[in-house]
């Protein structure tokens, strides 16, 4: 059991890191400076019903760290924002999933993506710019984030259905 858990966690972190790295090549609508699509959140959605909170956080930290090593941005403000955002998203999605209410992938994915955006903007506002005004670009981030969140939800649902006990 222990070995299987380690193996699974490694597979999830590997998938997340690659997605994180590959999405840096995807172009974004130009009004948004310095944003990203957030497709690596897909891995956390697939992992959500299967792992404990600690393991989910471990996947989030692993994919952000390795993904940023691959793209050469380790320890930059962008790394700290991405790491914190992914961890906040895990906390929010996990609480929604564990609330025993009937939430599906679509809702959890949307709220998780928005929690991620909100934290990153708040972090940029408070620690980098020193003002909350940065939050005025939130609607643009939220719209782009919602597109990828819907795609993530559909893909995660299909993978969860088809993979059964393997993933």
């Amino acid at each position: 059991m222990k070995t299987k858990e380690i193996t699974l966690l490694s597979v999830y972190i590997a998938m997340g890191s690659v997605l994180y790295f590959l999405e840096t090549f995807l172009p974004l609508p130009s009004i948004i400076p310095g944003g990203r699509w957030g497709f690596s959140n897909l891995v956390l959605l697939i992992a959500l019903p299967r792992f404990s909170l600690g393991n989910l956080l471990f996947i989030a930290i692993g994919k952000s760290t390795i993904g940023n090593i691959l793209s050469g941005r380790l320890m930059t403000p962008g790394y700290v924002m991405g790491l914190g955002g992914a961890m906040v998203a895990v906390l929010v999605m996990w609480s929604l999933y564990r609330s025993k209410k009937d939430f599906g992938y679509l809702g959890i994915s949307l709220v998780g993506a928005q929690a991620n955006n909100f934290f990153q903007l708040l972090f940029a506002g408070v620690f980098i710019m020193g003002t909350f005004r940065v939050i005025t670009v939130f609607p643009y981030f939220a719209l782009v984030g919602s597109i990828s969140a819907v795609i993530n939800a559909i893909v995660a649902h299909r993978i969860r259905m088809k993979s059964g006990d393997i993933l």
């Binding site: 009004i31 939430f103 949307l110 940029a124 939130f138 609607p139 649902h157």
Partner: protein
């Protein structure tokens, strides 16, 4: 876990509400001043009715034309502030994080269509 759960509409409404709330500060007044913040201190107040270019900081040039303002030149690596192009309304500021320069447009409080604004 299902794709769409019974209470997912609640979460979707919540996200939509969040987007609407953050869109609210947009307004359509006619007389604007741009404020240039450097290191989070208001450093310059620029009248948007007068065209011109301003050197606000070393290697950072701001241009005003037709009541719009843009970052014309900057020495930051990714040039995100320059690529944002022109802005003419309050709401989305131009931000250059490496140079710690921020351009914000605000309506002139003496020249508004409203009586009072609560903040």
């Amino acid at each position: 876990m299902k794709l769409i759960g019974k209470y997912d509409w609640l979460l979707i409404v919540f996200v939509g509400f969040l987007i609407l709330i953050t869109l609210l500060p947009f307004s359509n007044g006619s007389n604007y001043n741009a404020f240039v913040y450097i290191n989070n201190e208001m450093t310059y107040k620029i009248d948007l009715t007068k065209d011109g270019t301003y050197l606000v900081k070393e290697h950072v040039v701001v241009e005003v034309k037709d009541k719009k303002i843009r970052m014309k030149e900057s020495d930051c690596p990714q040039q995100l502030c320059v690529k944002m192009g022109w802005i003419s309304t309050p709401g989305v500021p131009i931000v250059c994080i490496p140079n710690k320069v921020m351009i914000i447009i605000e309506a002139d409080p003496n020249n508004l269509d409203y009586d009072v604004i609560t903040q």
